[in-house]
């Protein structure tokens, strides 16, 4: 589906290492007390759920490490485990969200979502060439009747791209 001349994007090693570290810390805090401190049932559930969430995050990071995002004239795809390809004509919606854990909302990250008929391609701004990928996608979707919501447009302007 994706042509040989496609542009390819990958998550940088440093971002992946940070994600692995985050997952390991989370699993240690979640599963650690379960192993040696015999918490009360409520805390057992809370800590267990937290540990499982970080385990899922660890698995997702492994998938990300083995995935590359590709864009060409026919569509956008994630090549690797759980891969997906969406043709430009099949794109249902595009979103660009911004998240920050700080009260002044600085130092956050963006998430770019291209929704297809059944599945979506989700990319975070830690990806190498994220702005280029967003720009390429928007160029390809121009004139195909995809409207961006107000939030995505505001986030696009912050990236230096116009909706």
């Amino acid at each position: 589906m994706i042509a040989p001349g496609a542009k390819r994007f990958r998550y940088p090693r440093q971002a992946l290492h940070s994600a692995y570290a985050l997952a390991c810390i989370g699993m240690a805090i979640g599963f650690g007390p379960l192993l040696f401190a015999q918490p009360a049932p409520l805390f057992r559930w809370l800590l267990g759920t937290m540990g499982v969430l970080f385990l899922v995050y660890f698995a997702r990071t492994v998938v990300r490490q083995r995935t590359r995002i590709e864009v060409d004239a026919s569509g956008i795809g994630a090549r690797g485990p759980l891969g997906v390809v969406i043709r430009w004509d099949d794109v249902r919606a595009v979103r660009l969200n911004y998240y920050s854990t700080r009260p002044d909302r600085s130092g956050g990250w963006m998430e770019f979502i291209v929704k297809g008929p059944r599945r979506s391609v989700r990319v975070e701004s830690t990806l190498d060439g994220f702005v280029e990928l967003v720009g390429e996608t928007l160029r390809a979707l121009r004139g195909r009747g995809i409207e961006l919501d107000e939030r995505s447009q505001a986030n696009l302007r912050a990236l230096g791209l116009s909706g």
């Binding site: 971002a15 985050l22 810390i25 989370g26 805090i29 007390p33 040696f36 401190a37 015999q38 918490p39 009360a40 049932p41 409520l42 805390f43 937290m50 969430l53 970080f54 899922v56 995050y57 997702r60 969200n97 911004y98 998240y99 920050s100 854990t101 700080r102 002044d104 909302r105 600085s106 130092g107 956050g108 990250w109 963006m110 998430e111 975070e124 701004s125 830690t126 994220f130 107000e150 939030r151 505001a154 986030n155 302007r157 912050a158 990236l159």
Partner: protein
């Protein structure tokens, strides 16, 4: 969102640890402890049997151990006399003043406080929401001016003063005693329909007293936020395209203006349990606020510490929930902030 949720969870953990440490330091700051004070009293009365019992309790609860060990055992991450037995294991400790487990001392009061403050939150939202929307959509009308004036009066009146005024008028004008959260004969009794009805009969006064200032503040914020949204370009465009006013209002501006309601969840959760200690004292309410004050005054460290820690946990969970909801509702960059990779 998964990434965001996990980042927020990882921020919660050190936050809770710092809060727990600060709480433990603060409740240990005054010289001595509850048992030291007891020993002084018992020595002066010459009661040696009781003195031995107090010494036993000091060893049992690890009060003779180093500070950090006491802290870790209290949290439940370090074994004490009874193995791992702290907050993490659901053991809130022993209330020296009441001579009962903390969970038993707190039990009924937590439920009453929850009922009172949850009703107050419902009252605040139910009153503030329609008034705020009306004031914003009818800006500078007589209704808006009148409600604004009422809002300022509500904000400026201290809760305890309103409580005193209402108590006075209810007593002098109607011959009603409105103190307490239920009739005295139901105090300490198991829950029954009569007890529940008595609580409902008494509930409206504290709900109005505690809820007034919050309602006024919420009206002001909702009005300001909604006015801000209504003047934005997308609303003007939708209006120009002929979108019906009610649909336009409900579809976007109102959703955006809900942000302060959601952001308030963070502070609402702990207030559901602790809220309005002073009003509770004035109105003689059997809620947890006065109990916390007593525990702090008498250095009943496990009761005060466990209770403060529980409130902090609720505050952190509330902030976590409101942050998740806000991120889902409005994942938009603020142009004053930066964006890192």
């Amino acid at each position: 969102m998964l990434n965001y949720t996990l980042h927020r969870i990882l921020i919660m953990i050190p936050t809770l640890l710092v809060i727990s440490f600060v709480t433990f330091v603060i409740i240990n700051l005054p010289p001595g402890d509850y048992l030291s004070n007891q020993i002084q009293e018992l020595k002066s009365s010459g009661d040696t049997a009781a003195l031995e019992r107090v010494e036993f309790m000091r060893r049992e609860y690890g009060l003779d151990r180093p500070f950090m060990e006491q802290y870790a055992a209290w949290l439940g991450i370090w074994p004490g006399q009874k193995g791992f037995s702290g907050l993490l294991q659901g053991d809130w400790g022993w209330s020296f003043e009441h001579d009962l487990p903390v969970s038993e001392v707190v039990g009924d009061r937590l439920m009453l406080t929850f009922i009172l403050n949850f009703s107050t939150i419902l009252f605040t939202w139910a009153v503030a929401f329609p008034i705020g929307v009306y004031a914003a959509t009818n800006q500078y009308s007589w209704g808006d001016h009148g409600l604004t004036l009422l809002g300022y009066i509500g904000l400026a009146t201290p809760n305890f003063l309103l409580a005193l005024v209402l108590m006075y008028f209810a007593n002098v004008e109607f011959g009603l005693s409105i103190g307490g959260i239920m009739d005295p004969q139901f105090l300490g009794q198991p829950w029954s329909w009569d007890k529940a009805r008595s609580v409902l009969d008494h509930l409206w006064i504290p709900v109005i007293v505690i809820g007034t200032s919050g309602t006024a503040g919420m009206i002001r914020r909702l009005r300001a936020n909604l006015l801000d949204e209504l003047q934005k370009q997308y609303v003007v465009t939708a209006r120009a395209k002929g979108m019906p006013p009610t649909r336009l209002l409900l579809k976007y501006p109102l959703r955006m203006a809900l942000n302060p309601f959601i952001a308030d969840i963070g502070s609402l959760l702990p207030s559901v349990i602790s809220g309005s200690a002073i009003v509770a004292v004035v109105l003689s309410l059997q809620t947890s606020g006065p109990m916390l004050l007593d525990a702090l005054q008498s250095q009943d460290q496990y009761l005060a510490g466990s209770f403060l820690m529980f409130l902090s946990l609720l505050a952190v969970i509330g902030t976590f929930i409101s942050d998740l909801l806000l991120a889902a509702l409005d994942p938009r960059i603020r142009l004053t902030g930066g964006m890192a990779k």
